[in-house]
Symmetry: C2
DNA sequence: TGAAAATATAAGTGGATTATTATATGCTAA
DNA sequence: TTAGCATATAATAATCCACTTATATTTTCA
């Protein structure tokens, strides 16, 4: 296997610990194929808004996701410039697609907010 | 990227949390190229024997490593039959080789124990 | 301008995780 | 058969983590 980047073991452990949480790991898998805002995650995970915001902040602090304000929403996406991007990509390839979660939202009309 | 196995997200998060610890991650990286016993890890990590045993037990409980008694020593190795093996392998490829740690032990004559 | 929506942040709490200390187990060799 | 080594296990203490509740900030729109 050819690997593009070699990570410091300490940094790698930090990233793995971050992703070693079901909510954050699922978030990142979803963000791998869609941009998303906090309110959507709140729906998907049936969690409180502060809980979701706190998970996202950890991912943002580590540089794994980035944010872009769009009106009153803040849209999150994977940060492709992150030094961990290819590492995370490789992980994600082992996980089942989670797009059905967003599709469910769409069917409930709960995804209009971040459409476009 | 072609991936051999797809893991349940929940299981994947569990494995990532396990590996999201510098000591355990380094252990697994070392075991990727060498079998090892507890006393060697104690030396390498300058940690207490119970602390090391407890880390190893977590890896063993998850099926990532297996043990084989050899006289008074117990030799640990990566469990290639684990359903997580290819997942873990992929991770490890991103990490720098840690063989120098065992080489240091050898130079101090502290590796005789597990030689075979 | 003021109300409402989306999000962030702070403080506090309970549960999980890690290390320590103490003790038990299993094997070897004298 | 007993002493010593390697390792496991149990109990406990300290630290960390994720969630909750409460509040602040930013933006939109009427």
């Amino acid at each position: 296997m050819q690997v593009s980047t070699t990570l410091d073991i300490e940094k790698a452990a930090t990233i793995l610990k971050l992703l070693g949480d079901k909510t954050r790991l699922t978030m990142v898998k979803i963000l791998d194929s869609n941009d998303c805002c906090v309110c959507e995650f709140v729906e998907i995970f049936k969690a409180s808004q502060p809980a979701i915001s706190q998970h996202i902040r950890k991912l943002k602090d580590a540089g794994i996701v980035r944010e872009a304000r769009r009106g009153q929403w803040i849209i999150y996406s994977l940060n492709k410039e992150s030094e961990f991007y290819s590492f995370v990509q490789n992980l994600l390839h082992h996980l089942p697609n989670q797009d059905f979660k967003l599709q469910e939202l769409e069917e409930q009309g709960l995804r209009i907010s971040c459409d476009s």
